[in-house]
Subunit: 328 residues, 2 copies
C-alpha cells in the first residue's frame, strides 16, 4: 500500500480522494491543514485516520509515503521541496509552482532525494488524450494546435463587487493563465514539445492577475493558438489542424470525446472508453511510478512541467503579470 497524506482541504482534494481510492494500493493515512479544527473536520469528512497541522511533523512521519499537494499555487514549491527532502513522493496540483525557477528547484529536489515528483495534470493521462497522441499521424502534416479553456468564475462576481477571492489574488500566484491557461499549454508541450517563441496578450485586472489571455506560439512548420479566461465562457472546442484532416477535442482540460474529420469528409471517432473519474488516471500513474521505482512520468514528466512553466513565465513577462513569488 502507498500511504498518502493530503495538503489542502477544498473540493479538489475531495475529488482526488474519490478517484484515488479506486486505485488498489492507495491508502489515505492522514490529512494536513494549518488549523486543528479544519484538519479534524476534513479528516472526519474523508475518513482519514490521522491529522497534521505541522508540516515538519508530516515530513518526518514514518507513516507517510506520498503527499498530494493542493495548497495555493504560491505554496507548492516550498511544501513539495520540504517533503521531498524528507523522502516523500509528491503529486502536486497544477500549475506545479509559481514560476520556472521554483519548478527547477523542485525537480532538483526530486532528483537529489530519489523520489517521484509529478504534476497532477489530469488531462494528459486520460484515455482519450492517449488516443489523441496515438492518432495524431493520421492528420498528415500538422499545421496548427488551437486550444481554449474559458470558464466564467463565480468568484468574478464577487471580484466585481469588490471582494478579491483567492482565484484573483496574485499573492497566491493565481489568475487565468495559471489556473486555466496551463490546461491548454501542458497538452501542447506533451504533443509538440517546446515552442520556438511565445507571443502573449492578456487583460490584466486591477488586482494584478489576468482575467483572460491569448497566446500564439511558433513551432516552425506549425503554429499554436491558446486562449483562456476566468471572466468569459467559450463555446468552441479545441482543434488540431493537419493537412489531411483535423482532430476535434471537446474540452482540452478533460478530453472526453475526440474525433478526426478528414479532408475527404470521413469522420472517425477516436474517443477512448473511460470508466473512472478523471483524477483516477493521475493517481494510478503516480502510484505505478512509486511501485516500479521510477522517478518520473514519461507523459507528465519534469521537462513537460518545466517547459509549460517557462511558457507561462514568458507570457506573464510580456503581459506584466508579476507575483510576489517571483521576487523571492
Amino acid at each position: 500500500m502507498i500511504r498518502f497524506a493530503t495538503i489542502g482541504t477544498n473540493w479538489i482534494t475531495e475529488a482526488f480522494l474519490d478517484a484515488a481510492r479506486l486505485v488498489d494500493s492507495f491508502e489515505l493515512a492522514a490529512v494536513y491543514s494549518r488549523t486543528e479544527e479544519t484538519a479534524k473536520q476534513f479528516a472526519d469528512k474523508v475518513g482519514a485516520p490521522r491529522t497534521f497541522t505541522d508540516l515538519q511533523k508530516l515530513a518526518e512521519s514514518d507513516g507517510i509515503d506520498a503527499v498530494y499537494i493542493a495548497s495555493p499555487n504560491a505554496l507548492h514549491a516550498e511544501q513539495a521541496i520540504w517533503l521531498m527532502n524528507h523522502g516523500k513522493h509528491v503529486l502536486c496540483e497544477k500549475p506545479l509552482a509559481s514560476n520556472a525557477k521554483e519548478v527547477k528547484a523542485m525537480i532538483e529536489a526530486a532528483n537529489r532525494n530519489g523520489v517521484v515528483l509529478m504534476e497532477a495534470m489530469k488531462a494528459t493521462l486520460l484515455p482519450t488524450f492517449r488516443s489523441i497522441r496515438e492518432h495524431l499521424p493520421k492528420l498528415g502534416r500538422i499545421r496548427r494546435y488551437v486550444a481554449n479553456y474559458c470558464q466564467y468564475s463565480s468568484r468574478y462576481d464577487a471580484y466585481k463587487q469588490g471582494t478579491v477571492l483567492n482565484a484573483f489574488n496574485p499573492a497566491l500566484s493565481n489568475g487565468a493563465l495559471m489556473d486555466l491557461g496551463v490546461y491548454c499549454l501542458y497538452p501542447m508541450v506533451v504533443l509538440f514539445g517546446q515552442p520556438r517563441s511565445v507571443k502573449a496578450q492578456s487583460v490584466k485586472l486591477e488586482s494584478g492577475v489576468d482575467g483572460e489571455g491569448s497566446i500564439v506560439l511558433d513551432y516552425g512548420d506549425m503554429d499554436a493558438v491558446v486562449f483562456y479566461s476566468k471572466i468569459t465562457n467559450s463555446h468552441l472546442p479545441s482543434e488540431i489542424q493537419g493537412e489531411d484532416g483535423n482532430m476535434i477535442i471537446d474540452a482540452i482540460h478533460t478530453p472526453a470525446k475526440a474525433e478526426i474529420r478528414y479532408r475527404d469528409g470521413r469522420v472517425e471517432d477516436i474517443t477512448a472508453p473511460q470508466d473512472k473519474p478523471p483524477m483516477y488516471y493521475e493517481a494510478q500513474e503516480f502510484i505505478r511510478l512509486i511501485e516500479n521505482g521510477e522517478h518520473e512520468s514519461a507523459i507528465n514528466s519534469h521537462r513537460h512541467s518545466l517547459w509549460t512553466m517557462e511558457i507561462m513565465d514568458e507570457a506573464r513577462k510580456q503581459t506584466g503579470i508579476v507575483f510576489p513569488a517571483d521576487e523571492r
Copy 2:
C-alpha cells in the same frame, strides 16, 4: 443607371455580376482583359456589350461610370488610381492593395477626384453582420474576438507537386493572410476599431507566401485572436466573448447564421434574413453611395480598409512575408 466595367475574368467577377444585376440601377457596360480573346470570350459569357484591352481607353471612356476590380492584388492600387484619376468610381476586391502605402495612395486619389472608392469586403455589409453589430451590447463587457478562416486550397495540391499557382505567388501579393486573413481582420476593425498592438506568427512556404498564420491583438480591455490557413481546414465557428454571453458566428467571411448564448443558458438567434447572394449587398452599398453623392461607405470605409492593411503589414513584417510590391 450606373454603367459598370469589370477588370478580371475569373469566377469572382461572374459571381459579382450575378449579384450586382439584382440591383435595379446596375448596368454592365463593358469588360476588360489584357487579351482581346479573353475579353471577347468573357463578354459573350456575361453578356457585356463592349470590351477593353487597354486600361487607358477604359479610363477615358465616357460610357463607364464605375469599375469593379478583381485583378491580382498586386495590380489593385495602380489600376484603381489610374481609373479614379479619370473620374471613375472604384469597387475593388479585397485586400484593397498590397500594403498600407498603396491603400493610402488610393484613398488620396479617391478624395482628390471626388469619386467613390470601396473595398469589396462582402462580409461586413451582409444583413447578419449588421445584426451582429446591433446586438453586440447584449454581451456585456466584451473580452475577446475569435475569428478564423481556414480553407484548404486545391492550389495547394498543385503547389505540393511543384506548381506555384497564383494563390501562392508573392509577386501577386497573395498568400493566406492576404486572401483569407483579411476576412477575419476587416470585421474586427469594423466592430472594435484599431488595435493597440499586433503579435503575429505564420508558416512561410518556400514560394515566399504564408500557408497559414495566427495573430493576437491587444484592445486594452479585450483581446482578439485570428487564425487563417490555405493549407488546412477548420471546423470551428467564430466567437465574440462577453462577460454576460457569447456570440457564435458560423463563418466570419460570410456570416449566414449568428446566435447569442447567454451565460444563464438562454440562446437567442440573431440571424437576419438574407434573400440575395452575398455580393449583392456590397454592390447595392457601392451604387447607393454613387447615387447619393457620398464618397465613402460608413461600414466599408477608407479607414477600415487602411487599419486592416496596417495590421496585415505589421503581421507580414513580424513573420518575414515580403512582396515585390513592398519594394516599389
